[in-house]
Symmetry: C2
Subunit: 131 residues, 2 copies
């Protein structure tokens, strides 16, 4: 399915990610590699990060665009992988997560967010209908 050939740049980028825990942006990866690889271009970094993520070799962490919510009480969300819709999930806030994370990391934790992903009710119905 994914016919790919070896590419020095891709492996460089992958190795860079393997050896850091900084969760770098594309820009960061580019600046780290550029000095040793002067011909490397930012477009290539973006392209390969996308390829690697599509292959499941790395994880992409982000919302595609900014969204807003008038409900300022922290609560879990769900985003549909198919249609991109965002829904609230009606579950209580788990303070335990903050406590446990604080203990495990040493950082001072103010809040946490839970974002679930999958297929929403609506998209699942449409899927069933057309199969």
């Amino acid at each position: 399915m994914n016919s790919k050939r070896y590419s020095r740049q891709r492996e460089l980028i992958y190795e860079t990610l393997i050896h850091t825990t900084e969760h770098p942006t594309a820009e960061m990866v580019y600046h780290w590699l550029k000095p040793e690889n002067p011909s490397l271009s930012l477009g290539t970094v973006y392209r390969n990060l996308k390829l690697l993520a599509d292959d499941g070799r790395i994880a992409r962490m982000a919302f595609p665009v900014e969204r807003y919510d008038a409900n300022i009480t922290p609560h879990p969300h769900f985003r549909c992988d198919r249609c991109g819709a965002v829904y609230d999930i009606d579950l209580p806030y788990e303070k335990d997560i903050d406590r446990a994370a604080e203990e495990a990391s040493g950082h001072q934790i103010r809040v946490h967010e839970v974002l679930c992903r999958g297929v929403c009710v609506k998209c699942r119905k449409e899927e069933t209908r057309s199969s």
Copy 2:
């Protein structure tokens, strides 16, 4: 501190958010309001969403930019409110969250992400030093 005067546009935008659960983007809010408010501009929507979020009247949900992680096992993250750094948190994946969310929402949940926010160890140290 935040000296603000009344603004029809800001209240319109806030009312819109209050009456939806769609977690809209700035663009969505703009398109909903534009027909009834032809003079409204997109810049104003962005400006007021930011003002409202800074005042804590609404919540902003997003990562500022895309980040990548070679560790594809789902695990909790922490982002520092001060310096923006992202760290891993070494805690086990809680399948219970998926089960509970699935039950509460009816959506099919594949995974969830936990993002904690607060002040990282490094920033806290710098803060203490300078106060």
